[in-house]
C-alpha cells in the first residue's frame, strides 16, 4: 500500500482530559483510502477518544492532544476546527446519537447538509438517506427527542451522510439497535464503501459484526493499541475469539453457562 493511499495517519498521539487524566498513551494507526477499518476494544479503552482526536471534537470535552500527530492525506489536522474537517470530507457520528432534540428528523438531516450548497445534491442526498432508512421517512416530522433510541441512531448516521463525506468516523453505530437494523447499518457501510468509495473508521464493541464488515482491525486496551491485523486474521486469533467473540473453541458459549473465573487478557497487566 503506497503512502498516497493513506487517508488518515495517526501517529503516536497522547490525549489528556482536564489536564490530568491521561487517556491515550501513544496510539498509532493508519486508515487506507476506500477501506473499512475497525477499532475494537473494551469499555474505556479509548476508542471514542481516538475518534474525537481525529475529528477535533476533543476541545469541547476539555481534552487535548499533547503528543503525536494526525495527518489527513498528508496534511496535519490536529489544530483544525471540526468544520474545516467536514469541509475536507471527514465527519464523525458521535457515540450516543446527539440528535438535535428540538428539530424534526428532517430538519436534523437538513442541518447535516449545512456545508453543502447545491440544492439538487442536498435533496438527492436526502432521498438517499430516506432510502437507506425508510423508518426515518415515516418519522420525518417528529421532533428528534421523541423518537426511539434506534430511530435517533439512524438519524445521526443519516445526518452525517448528508455532509457527503469521504471519511466517516463511526462511533458504536450498533449500540441499541435491533439486530435487523444493525445488519442494515453495516450493509449500508459496506454499500457506501463499495459504491461511493467512502472510507470508514469504525469504533465498535460488537466485534463480531465489525470484523465481518471491516478490512482491517485494531484492538485497543487502556489507551494503547495491543493488536492489529487484517480482519479475517483477527477473527481466527484464539485470544480474539475468546475475549471479543465469546467463542470457546468453535462453539459459541451460552451466556447462561460460564464460570466466574476467567483467564485474564494477557496484554493487561
Amino acid at each position: 500500500m503506497s503512502n498516497q493511499d493513506i487517508v488518515l495517519d495517526v501517529n503516536g498521539i497522547e490525549v489528556i482530559y482536564n489536564h490530568v487524566i491521561l487517556v491515550l498513551k501513544g496510539v498509532s494507526l493508519t486508515v487506507p483510502a476506500g477501506r473499512v477499518v475497525a477499532l475494537l476494544g473494551g469499555n474505556g479503552a479509548g476508542k471514542t477518544t481516538t475518534l474525537r482526536a481525529v475529528s477535533s471534537l476533543l476541545k469541547g470535552e476539555r481534552g487535548a492532544v499533547t503528543k503525536g500527530s494526525i495527518e489527513l492525506r498528508g496534511e496535519r489536522i490536529e489544530n483544525m476546527t471540526p468544520s474545516d474537517l467536514v469541509q475536507r470530507g471527514v465527519v464523525q457520528v458521535m457515540e450516543g446519537r446527539h440528535c438535535f432534540a428540538h428539530l424534526t428528523i428532517e430538519e436534523n438531516l437538513l442541518a447535516g447538509a449545512y456545508t453543502r450548497r447545491d440544492r439538487g445534491e442536498i435533496s438527492a442526498n436526502l432521498e438517499k438517506v430516506y432510502n437507506y432508512f425508510p423508518r426515518l421517512k415515516a418519522r420525518r416530522t417528529s421532533q428528534a427527542a421523541y423518537t426511539s433510541g434506534g430511530e435517533q441512531q439512524m438519524c445521526a448516521i443519516g445526518r452525517a451522510l448528508m455532509t457527503n463525506p469521504s471519511v466517516v468516523l463511526l462511533d458504536e453505530p450498533s449500540m441499541g439497535l435491533a439486530p435487523q437494523i444493525v445488519e442494515e447499518v453495516f450493509e449500508i457501510v459496506r454499500d457506501l464503501n463499495a459504491k461511493e468509495n467512502v472510507t470508514f473508521l469504525l469504533a465498535e464493541q460488537n466485534t463480531n459484526m465489525a470484523l465481518r464488515y471491516a478490512d482491517y482491525g485494531y484492538i485497543m486496551e487502556s489507551g494503547r493499541i495491543v493488536m492489529d491485523g487484517a480482519a479475517d486474521e483477527l477473527r481466527n486469533n484464539e485470544d480474539v475469539k475468546e475475549f471479543y467473540l465469546g467463542m470457546y473453541g468453535e462453539e459459541r458459549k451460552s451466556y447462561r453457562n460460564f464460570k466466574s473465573y476467567k483467564r485474564r487478557k494477557r496484554w493487561l497487566t
Partner: protein
C-alpha cells in the same frame, strides 16, 4: 511526595465517612480553624476585620446557603438577596418588637422567616425549571425590594425607611469591637459549615444532588422531588436569612433595602459559581475572591498607575475595576468552569502524583 494518602487505610465505614478522610487535610483544616480563632485576632488590624474579614465571613455563610440550593439542588436562584433581606428585617423586627429578645434568638428567627418565605418562592420550582426558574426567582428579589421600602411595618415605621440595630449582646458578652464581631461571625460560619457539610453528605444531600443531576431518574428510585426541592429551598434560605441578619446587625449596623438588592443576589451567585457549585469549600474560595478582589484592585491600581507615571483617577480605577472584574470572571470560567474548588482539587491531585506526571 509529602501529600500521600498511602498507608491511610480505612478500617470502618465511619472512618471513611469523615468530612476529611485524608489525615493531612484534616490537620490542615483544624490548623486553619485554630489560626482563624487564635492567631488572626492577634495579627489583623481593625480595617482588615471590618472591611475584609467580616464581610468575607458573612458572605461565605450566605454563599453556603446559595450553594445548597444552586450547587447541590441545581435550582438556579437569582433572588438570594431577597432572602437575606427577609432574614435581616425579620431579625430586626423580632428584636425590637419583643422585649428582652436575646440576640441569638433574633438572628435565628431571621433564618426562620427566611425559610418560610424561601419555601413559598420554592413552590414554582416544582413546575418551572432551569433558566425559566432562575428568572422567576427575580420576582422574590423585586417583591422584597418593594415590600421593605413600602410597607412601614417592616421597618418599625421608621420615617426614612432605614433601620438600625445597636448594642449587640449575647448572654453577657457585648459584641463591640471589630475582633468580637469577627469572632461572633466566625462562630456562626463554623457551626453552619459543619451542619451544611453534614447535610450534603447525608441522605438529604444525595437527594438534592440526584434531583439536580437527573430528576426523572431520581423520582424512579423513590426520591420525593417535592420534598427534596422544598427542603433545599428551606435549608438554603435559613442559612441565607441568618447571613442577612448578620450582614445587617453586625456588618452594617444600619441598613436599607438597597443593601440586599439585585446586585447582592448576583454577587452571591458569582461567589458560588466562581467558587465551585456543589462544594462547601467553594463557597469560601468564591467569597474570598469576590470580597477581596475589588479591594485589592482599588488599592493597587493607583499604585500601578503611579509606577508607569500617571495618576489614575478614582473614576478610571472603578471603571478598570469593572472591566478587570468582568474579565477575571470570564477567565476563571474558561480555565475552570467548575470553579476554584475544582482548581484546588486538581491541584491536590497533581500534588498527590508529584513528582510523577500523570
Amino acid at each position: 511526595m509529602f501529600y500521600r494518602e498511602n498507608g491511610q487505610l480505612k478500617t470502618s465505614y465511619q472512618a471513611d465517612q469523615q468530612i476529611f478522610p485524608i489525615a493531612q487535610d484534616r490537620w490542615a483544616i483544624i490548623g486553619l480553624v485554630l489560626f482563624a480563632i487564635v492567631a488572626v485576632p492577634l495579627l489583623a488590624n481593625e480595617y482588615t476585620f471590618s472591611a475584609i474579614l467580616i464581610p468575607f465571613l458573612i458572605l461565605s455563610l450566605a454563599a453556603l446557603g446559595v450553594n445548597i440550593l444552586v450547587g447541590y439542588c441545581g435550582q438556579i436562584s437569582m433572588g438570594s438577596g431577597a432572602f437575606m433581606a427577609v432574614g435581616a428585617y425579620a431579625a430586626y423586627n423580632t428584636l425590637v418588637r419583643i422585649d428582652g429578645m436575646p440576640l441569638l434568638l433574633a438572628l435565628l428567627s431571621g433564618g426562620f422567616f427566611a425559610t418560610v418565605v424561601g419555601m413559598f418562592f420554592g413552590i414554582p420550582s416544582l413546575r418551572v425549571k432551569g433558566l425559566y426558574l432562575a428568572v422567576a426567582t427575580l420576582a422574590a428579589q423585586f417583591l422584597s425590594d418593594w415590600a421593605f421600602l413600602r410597607v412601614p411595618w417592616f421597618t418599625n415605621n421608621s420615617t426614612s425607611g432605614s433601620v438600625m440595630v445597636s448594642e449587640l449582646q449575647m448572654f453577657s458578652w457585648r459584641i463591640d469591637t471589630a475582633v468580637e464581631k469577627y469572632l461572633f461571625c466566625l462562630g456562626f460560619l463554623i457551626v453552619f459549615a459543619v451542619l451544611a457539610k453534614n447535610l450534603v453528605r447525608s441522605a438529604i444531600g444525595r437527594e438534592w444532588m440526584a434531583v439536580r443531576d437527573m430528576d426523572v431518574a431520581a423520582a424512579v428510585i423513590g426520591i420525593r422531588i417535592t420534598y427534596a426541592k422544598l427542603s433545599a429551598f428551606a435549608v438554603s434560605s435559613f442559612i441565607i436569612g441568618v447571613a442577612g441578619a448578620l450582614w445587617g446587625f453586625v456588618h452594617l449596623g444600619a441598613w436599607e433595602p438597597a443593601a440586599f438588592g439585585l446586585d447582592r443576589s448576583f454577587q452571591l451567585l458569582f461567589i458560588v459559581i466562581i467558587g465551585g457549585m456543589g462544594s462547601i469549600m467553594g463557597s469560601f474560595f468564591g467569597a474570598a475572591f469576590i470580597v477581596i478582589l475589588p479591594i485589592v484592585l482599588s488599592q493597587t491600581l493607583p499604585a500601578l498607575g503611579n509606577l508607569v507615571g500617571f495618576e489614575v483617577s478614582t473614576a478610571a480605577i472603578s471603571h478598570a475595576e469593572f472591566m478587570i472584574f468582568g474579565a477575571l470572571i470570564v477567565w476563571f470560567l474558561i480555565v475552570e468552569p467548575h470553579g476554584l474548588a475544582k482548581l484546588w482539587s486538581t491541584g491536590k491531585q497533581k500534588l498527590r502524583l508529584w513528582p510523577f506526571p500523570h
